[in-house]
């Protein structure tokens, strides 16, 4: 049969983010897929070398639009490790709560993208509405809807305002009240099952070899979660579990996302109960003259898409000498995606890509 070259994106309704895939198709079947990133490359890591340690906070969060908070977290962790700064206990709890809220928001965004990709407007609109309720919380806490710059070396910028805990609880309750609706409309929908089962299968061996993490790995039954294996912030202070599914297809991954969202909400409630009183940040030196001793560090945390890492080098100056972000979308969007697409139907390209949760700006940086 004749082979045809098909461009999927960058201008495409099914494409989340500015990314493109060159597909070689034979009839309906994909025989080769070449991911083509770079549409969003800004040279972040180069620009970071030109800005002082503290000025980089507005930079790092723009590396991932969907969940900027984990980016702030990882950079703070890197700086704290290099400079040897401790974070007070309450600061750790607030960080965890804040990151889990961001994870719920990010997963709702993912649900929007996935349902939208399947043409299921109804659920996608609900998910986007609920994400907005969480953004309202962020707006009250930090003043920004999308970019917050809330986590800071030494803690968080400010304590929760009065009554904020109640508003978190009521918002999460109102979203949680709709979980049965989501289940009936989407997760137990036979058409969703037909569309997602057996699609985009990434076996455990492949996922391990390709550097998979996050849902890609948990979707194959491996309970790998940095929050559990290498705990940071306050994740080891409360009990919670890692959710897995066995099959490694899009269906498993979306179900993992769903269960994780609910687990995150439960975790927020537990963290709120256990949260101690006290300071939320330790003072850092004057940021305009701040120099960090020579050294390098690799830190990692769990973003909503998988393991997020940062290799950061200081030469004793007032700016990072080199920072390299290990973003989860990078192996997922380049190595895993190219492999998972081969043999798939062209109707499933967006399906597979969004179930792998590829966020383009994270790849390009």
């Amino acid at each position: 049969m004749r082979e045809l070259e098909l461009y999927f994106g960058p201008q495409h309704l099914g494409m989340v983010g500015n990314f493109s895939i060159t597909l070689t198709v034979e009839g309906d079947r994909i025989v080769k897929a070449v991911a083509n990133p770079g549409y969003l490359h800004r040279g972040f890591e180069k620009l970071m070398e030109l800005r002082s340690w503290i000025k980089n906070f507005p930079m790092v969060c723009r590396m991932n639009v969907v969940e900027p908070d984990s980016m702030e977290m990882i950079y703070s962790m890197g700086v704290e490790k290099l400079a040897g700064i401790e974070v007070p206990e309450r600061g750790q709890f607030i960080r965890s709560i804040y990151l889990e809220l961001a994870r719920v928001g990010s997963h709702l965004f993912g649900l929007w993208a996935y349902a939208n990709m399947l043409g299921f407007d109804t659920v996608s609109q609900w998910a986007m509405y609920h994400r907005d309720l969480i953004l309202d919380l962020f707006e009250e806490l930090t003043g920004g809807r999308v970019y917050h710059i809330y986590i800071w070396p030494g803690g968080v910028r400010r304590d929760f305002p009065d009554g904020f805990v109640d508003r978190i609880v009521s918002t999460l309750h109102s979203i949680g009240g709709c979980v049965p609706d989501y289940d009936n409309a989407f997760f137990h929908n036979p058409v969703f099952r037909d569309r997602a089962k057996g699609i985009g299968v990434v076996g455990r061996e492949d996922a391990l070899a390709m550097g998979g993490s996050g849902q890609v790995l948990r979707g194959t039954g491996l309970p790998f979660d940095v929050r559990k294996d290498d705990p940071y912030a306050a994740y080891d202070r409360v009990p919670w579990e890692v959710h897995t599914r066995e099959d490694g297809d899009a269906y498993s991954r979306i179900w993992v996302v769903r269960n994780e969202m609910i687990e995150s909400v439960h975790m927020i409630f537990k963290l709120l109960d256990a949260m101690p009183e006290g300071e939320v940040y330790n003072r850092i030196p004057n940021p305009f003259k701040w120099r960090i001793p020579e050294g390098d560090a690799y830190v990692r945390c769990e973003s909503s898409r998988g393991e997020l890492g940062l290799y950061i080098v200081s030469d004793g100056g007032d700016a990072p000498y080199r920072a390299h972000f290990r973003t989860p979308s990078y192996p997922h969007g380049l190595a895993v995606l190219e492999k998972a697409l081969v043999g798939a139907n062209i109707a499933d390209v967006g399906n597979i890509m969004i179930s792998l949760y590829v966020v383009a700006p994270e790849i390009d940086r």
Binding site: G38, L208, M210, P223, Y298, Y330
Partner: protein
Amino acid sequence: MSATLAGRLEAVFKDIRTGADGDARLTVAATPESVLPVLVFLKDSGYGYLQLVSCVDWIERGEMEVVYVLSAYPGGPVETEFESIVLKTRVPRDTPSLDTAIDVFPVAEPYEREIHELFGVHFEGHPRLVPLFLEREYEIPPFRKDFDTREYVEDVFGAVPPVVEESQEP
């Protein structure tokens, strides 16, 4: 057999130096030739998860430092004692070249491609060292320290003139 991984590493490979940080991290410095055997050794020791391949341009020393960060997946076949292992190697800055690690870790492919593009480090045996991100040609790979991005911006984008509106309809 020596108990610690560091001890075993130094016993097997002569030309490497190891240093353990306090917090469950082992730093290994190796020569470019021994990078691949060390990677294989570490993979067999249970560190089967290549998290990152990075590169640092030490311009004053005239060297490029390629960094491999490894860790272990939970439930792996072997018990591991370190959270992560940082393997560093240095190549000369004028002719930076290394063997590719794709055969050991397939995930190294996009990382090596990126380093080739942004730092100009050549990876021997890599199947597609084609541009990943960039559209324009750069004389110096842009992530090297001697590439002055501000000057470049001034030269390229600052030189584009604003569009002057021609006079209105005759």
